[in-house]
Symmetry: C2
Subunit: 115 residues, 2 copies
Amino acid sequence: MVLKVRKKVRALPGCPMSKCMDLLGGCWTPEVLWSLSEGPRRFSELRRDNPFISAKVMTSRLRDLEKRGVLTRNVMPTSPPTVEYELTDLGKELLPAIRSIVEVGSRLLLRDSTG
Amino acid sequence: MVLKVRKKVRALPGCPMSKCMDLLGGCWTPEVLWSLSEGPRRFSELRRDNPFISAKVMTSRLRDLEKRGVLTRNVMPTSPPTVEYELTDLGKELLPAIRSIVEVGSRLLLRDSTG
DNA sequence: GCGGGCAGTTTCCAGCTGGTTACCGAAAAG
DNA sequence: CTTTTCGGTAACCAGCTGGAAACTGCCCGC
């Protein structure tokens, strides 16, 4: 549920895991990416998707991910404002990892309930 | 590279992602699991595998994972002491997620160099 | 004229946490 | 005799960071 990104120690140059965790890292990041996996979503939709993420953290995570090229932020000139977030190609490359995490989680839940 | 576990907000009851992240979460946890994926390893081997993890954090992560049933700690009565860590069945269930993260990372590295 | 929804921003604060350093006992190596 | 290895533990400290609450501007509906 909670990933944290370090500021100092960035991804080790040639390490695949570091490379990937550098993008997945950060509190709630996997949840956000999961919400975006089905297609573009607006800020308030993302917030309703996972009500435990505060607005501040949601904003911060989205900005980070935008900066890293994982998603795009598209402000539409409507009123009230509409902002759509969408995974980039880079973002979509992360989905197999996200899906795998969800799959493993599902299996663990089953395991729990069936003993 | 760095995942952080929250103390208060544990896994949401029925959420697969939370369920899985609850075990993967915590700084360096994926790296440790990755090191153990090939078989049992000793403390000092784990430390050499990833020299950026301090002894303190390594210990703390291993104890957490043991408590959660992800790995076993086996102290052998040798001198100097030998301690072996090994994934449990539960721990092995996490490997698909870990592998997927590594795979995605590898693809991203390739993308960087050929892109 | 009031409230509400959108999409945030700002401020402040507590707390967890990871890094660093020092230290442990036993035994083997030099 | 000294140093190293093994597998840690204890103490201390700085810093990031997430949470909470208040505030913003704009427009629509009542």
